[in-house]
Amino acid sequence: MSQKVLLNAKEVNIILHRLACQLIENHNDFSNTVLIGLQPRGTYLANRLAQILKESYKIKNLELGFLDITFFRDDFRRGEKPLEANSTQIDFIVEDKKVVFIDDVLYTGRSVRAALTAIQSFGRPTEIELLTLIDRRFSRHLPIQPNYRGRQVDAINQEKVIVQWDEQGQADTVFLINQ
């Protein structure tokens, strides 16, 4: 098993600021936009971006929610392991809002497909966008592409991209692991 660092803490920080600025470019003061982190791993990125938007770019009244997609996945009873559910925390309605899904790695696109269905339980958004820190090229099972991407990575199927966050007790780093 070999391991390569794709992004270190400094690079992650630069990318997060760029993504925050790109969001501001499209969503101004976020009065009609909500950020939705996809459980489980998208929540770290969503929290971090929300923090940067509030503290560095003085965005007030930013609405942030977390969406669990477990019960909307298309691989129920198909995997070896049972699916683990996480909590959904969306205290607002998304009807007529612009929604930005936030996840750490875009791989097959199946999680995003599930999220597109799951969010409908909370109303009909006017528009849904996708932001990912890592976009794995050449591995999509579905026609889904991000609107905002931190870094595009060419990784083959045996390789795994792991995003590690400061909140988990280790420095922000993105690894490419060859199994």
Binding site: F71, F76, R77, P82, S87, T88, I93, T117
Partner: protein, 309 residues
Amino acid sequence: MSELSVNHLLGIKYLNKNDIKLIFETADHFKEVINRPIKKVPSLRDITIANLFFENSTRTKLSFELAEKRLSADVINFSASQSSVKKGETLIDTVNNILSMKVDMVVMRHPNPGAGVFLSKHIKASIINAGDGAHEHPTQALLDSYSIRERLGEVKGKKVVIVGDILHSRVALSNIFALQLQGAEVMVCGPKTLIPKYISSLGVKVETNLLKALNWCDVANMLRVQNERMDVSYFPSTREYTQQYGVSKALLDSLNKEVVIMHPGPINRGVEITSDVADSDQAIILDQVQNGVAVRMAVIYLLASKIKQ
């Protein structure tokens, strides 16, 4: 996430502590789901569930059906009163006929204790016992414990008294198993004629004085007097039963603490519980009903996830 240790839910006595924990954690997620504007998830869209009710039921049947539909399962309903059971068909034949229509899971209520266990030995589908005679009613006990956990934070260390007709009650037996498994203390209270002779061998306290029982407990689960199961008279009159074992607001106010009041329904207002208690904040009867759907969704989801494709 771990998975359930069982492939069927036949009774609480077949579960372990971790199973109950897993069911409750999953139910927490489903409780959030059923409070959304759109209360449905597509998880079980390729699962078919048969609800076989060989005995009358209103809320349990509705609750199961709603839980199944909220999980997007296909549902077929069967009640013995309108079926070929009346023409002499055996249980296994009835169920096998239904299963040949490619049913994955069976929810069954049956008047005979052990019907679920018997069936599980003869058919392939997952079975959920929705009440078998005076034996067990596991989903009711799970939702009761879930409601206690919701109101009091945890079940462990709590004192729960089950009041009323213990003898004919499957709810009582399943509750005793479930509460003890989670580390609660259990007492049963009622007229001696309605308390099984050897119940203390299950490690429960027995009390015939309701006031003493209420003074001891944190939670009182009031059971209905099951007149339809009584072949002889177990107490002189309903009026006397109410005087001795009915809970009223005045009685609860005379205690120097607040006892949580539960009832599995249907309520006989004015018999085991007065209206002012049933409708008070102390009673969590309607919470139990709402939690019933979430808990049953969790049980069905977890069992369905063990059905191999």
